[in-house]
Amino acid sequence: MKYLDEFRNPEIAQRLFDEIRRMTTRPWAIMEVCGGQTHSIIRNGIDQLLPPQIELIHGPGCPVCVTPLETIDKALMIAAQPGVIFCSFGDMLRVPGSEKDLFRVKSEGADVRIVYSPLDAVKLAQANPEREVVFFAIGFETTAPANAMAVYQAKQLGLRNFSMLVSHVLVPPAIAAIMESPATRVQAFLAAGHVCTVMGYWEYEPLVERYHVPIVVTGFEPLDVLEGIRRAVAQLEKGEARLENAYPRAVRREGNVPAQKMLADVFEVTDRAWRGIGVIPRSGWRLSERYREFDAEARFAVANIRTQESPLCRSGEVLQGLLKPNQCPAFGKECTPRTPLGATMVSSEGACAAYYQYGRFVQVEDIPVAPSV
């Protein structure tokens, strides 16, 4: 596929590996924020081919993983109500709530449907005026313009039977929270490319300055990820902290302005709880006053929820980069993609799912390494 295959060229990748190896003189810990990048790294074995001094810390950029348990439980309650068509991206269906997941609710008779685009949910509302159609609007800044367009259209079309359960999260406050944490080991960030496609990267300039940390806007294909790492290492080795764009074919400093205008109309900033991490101030979006009538939490009675996390699940530490998935005692034993204890084992962007899918059952350090030549 054009503009994918060229960025997967193994010979060029080898050159980038060589270059990174050549410039690395000390240990460095770099966090890739986005779960899509984590999967690219693990699938392609990038972490294993880098010089051993470079550690990649997997970040919290998995919207499915960080959607609060309380919100999942609310989704389960709403989906189970008679007359409701509950629409969601496919990733959410197996995410464990306190007692069950959306698949289970569906098997008990609820009308739960997987949609590819949020506009499919609007179409369902148009086609089923006697039913209440609820869309589970999760995601980072990348997905928000699509979800915003769905509610904007619903308003334009005067749909009274459409609503959204909103749990949007934002990357820059999460980066700030990671840097504020006393436990953090992160020395540089690979910023999530498509988040920056939408929002631009000007938001990251104050973070670079405040925390003196290099941030490199990075894409998803192997060459993109390697170029992001190469630039981060180059800065670290020189003691610099700058903002760089290593994904210029998709990202411009100002981002997508028409999308940002829509976001500013539909959403407003709010404090948000991140599953496994806790509340991060001003780290989410909720519907603005103008669209509050489409808020599923107000339309359906979903109070008095008592959440119960699995006592074995340590996904919070995984999401904060404090624990590698295969260091969790439950990994691959009590917790597998078929019987997940936490969302990180479910999502196509979850670090635990990546480690399981690509057979990372032991620590890289535990594998005997051939002596270097």
Binding site: I12, L16, R22, G35, P145, A146, H194, P258, S348
Partner: protein, 91 residues
Amino acid sequence: MCLGIPGQVKEIYEVNGVRMGKVDFAGIVKEVCLAYVPEIEVGDYTIVHVGFAITQLDEASAQESLRLFEEMGRLEEELGSSEEGAGEVSG
């Protein structure tokens, strides 16, 4: 979930007053919302996420990135710095 796939715009039209189009992903053609890329034209490349074009793909910039990657290797080969560098690291 933030994954975006590059594809080529084949057709542009309006549905309910919203700019929509057909995008070709190496032979698979899907309907995509083009509301956020008002300047895109048929033949241009875009990056699509959950049925929405989130940007026009900058083809010149893509070629430039690939050219820089190519050069990086060549420069090393010419200077023979690759082996030297590797020696420094392991030694």
